[in-house]
């Protein structure tokens, strides 16, 4: 089991729960609003996300995807995006807002996102059945 931790500088890592869990997730100064696209989805904040127990779903070229179980019982998928450090906050947010507005039964919905210089997270709805690749070649 893992948890995400975000340091005061905004950098974060998913660490083993048994090891370093030094910084208090309850620190109100550090609480960061996540932006939500859908009013019907129960809102959670970054601290909820960081407290969630998580497991690695897959490691792709662009980053690692986790399945996170929130304390509220909700299950979501979080992608930590790499290789986007040269991107400005504005560019990232604009694209996420555009993509987050889309609704279709055959698209995995983007629930929320987080941007800091060191860390970019995209929160997706969790789809339970694995990928087509696993289904075909597993």
């Amino acid at each position: 089991m893992f948890q995400i931790q975000i340091g005061e500088d905004g950098s974060s890592e998913w660490t083993d729960k048994k090891t370093a869990y030094s910084r208090s997730a309850e620190d109100p100064e550090r609480s960061v609003e996540l932006q939500f696209f859908d009013k019907n989805i129960p809102v959670f904040d970054l601290d909820d996300l960081l407290r969630a127990s998580a497991e690695v779903l897959g490691k792709g070229k662009l980053g690692t995807t986790y399945k996170a179980n929130l304390e509220s019982g909700a299950v979501i998928s979080v992608k930590r995006v790499e290789y986007m450090d040269s991107l400005s906050k504005k560019e990232f947010i604009q694209q996420m807002q555009l993509l987050g507005k889309m609704r279709h039964e055959n698209l995995v919905q983007i629930i929320s996102f987080y941007y800091s210089k060191e860390e970019k997270l995209i929160v997706y709805e969790f789809v339970p059945g694995g990928s087509l690749f696993e289904l075909l070649h597993g």
Binding site: L62, E91, M102, L136, H137
Partner: protein
């Protein structure tokens, strides 16, 4: 690849089946044709929607591949949802966009500009992957699969030799009632994977044709 092919033609069909299964996981549940067709139709619906919703985007999905198609099941059927879409504007350099699925399209490799048709190419590759059960060229996560270098060329070769059902995944070969659909989808896949982007159909046309095949063969109204 060729050596393996020659070797397996000397085996009986039972042994061939086992040989092919051995390349997959132990305890694997075969994925039947109805499930594959339903998954394909859902991908086409998602792609047509993306292309319609983001007309000004160069390549709306840009990262369409089987690991970015997520599956959910209800009691009766399989459904699919596309993920990791819309990343091309987030990866401004050529070196970075090469990591996306469109990085394996002919136009990208030739340094030409990308359009919606690069997504159509990736869709065609997925179709071939679902029909043949082969992994498109490149490396698999564990590196223990048989890898075809260029799947679309391989399929073209087989189809042109009138050996069309030879391309089918062994798991769907026995569903003879589906062969007509499989061949029609292979035809669409070959058009989608045309080297020339302008010769590929639009996603909206692909969806119409797949829905038409569905209506004709399943007797839906």
């Amino acid at each position: 690849m060729i050596r393996n092919y020659v070797a397996i033609t000397t085996l009986s069909s039972d042994k061939l089946y086992l040989w092919l299964l051995e390349n997959r996981g132990v305890g694997r549940i075969p994925l039947n044709w109805a499930a594959r067709f339903s998954i394909i139709k859902d991908i086409a619906k998602g792609m047509a929607f993306l292309h319609q919703s983001l007309p000004s985007h160069k390549v709306p999905h840009a990262n369409l591949k089987s690991s970015n198609v997520l599956i959910h099941r209800d009691r009766h059927s399989y459904h699919s949802k596309l993920t990791n879409y819309g990343f091309l504007p987030l990866l401004p350099s050529r070196k970075l966009s090469e990591m996306l699925a469109v990085g394996r399209s002919p136009e990208f490799c030739q340094g030409k500009k990308l359009t919606h048709k690069a997504d159509v190419y990736c869709f065609g590759i997925i179709l071939l992957e679902v029909i043949t059960g082969k992994i498109p060229g490149g490396t698999s996560p564990e590196g223990n699969y048989e890898i075809a270098d260029d799947l679309s060329d391989w399929v073209r070769m087989v189809v042109n030799n009138d050996w069309s059902t030879d391309i089918l995944d062994v798991e769907i070969l026995a569903s003879r009632e589906g062969h007509n659909e499989m061949m029609k989808l292979t035809e669409i896949a070959l058009q989608c994977t045309d080297m020339a982007p302008e010769k590929r159909p639009k996603m909206s046309e692909v969806l119409i044709r797949i829905e038409e095949i569905d209506r004709t063969n399943r007797g839906n109204d």
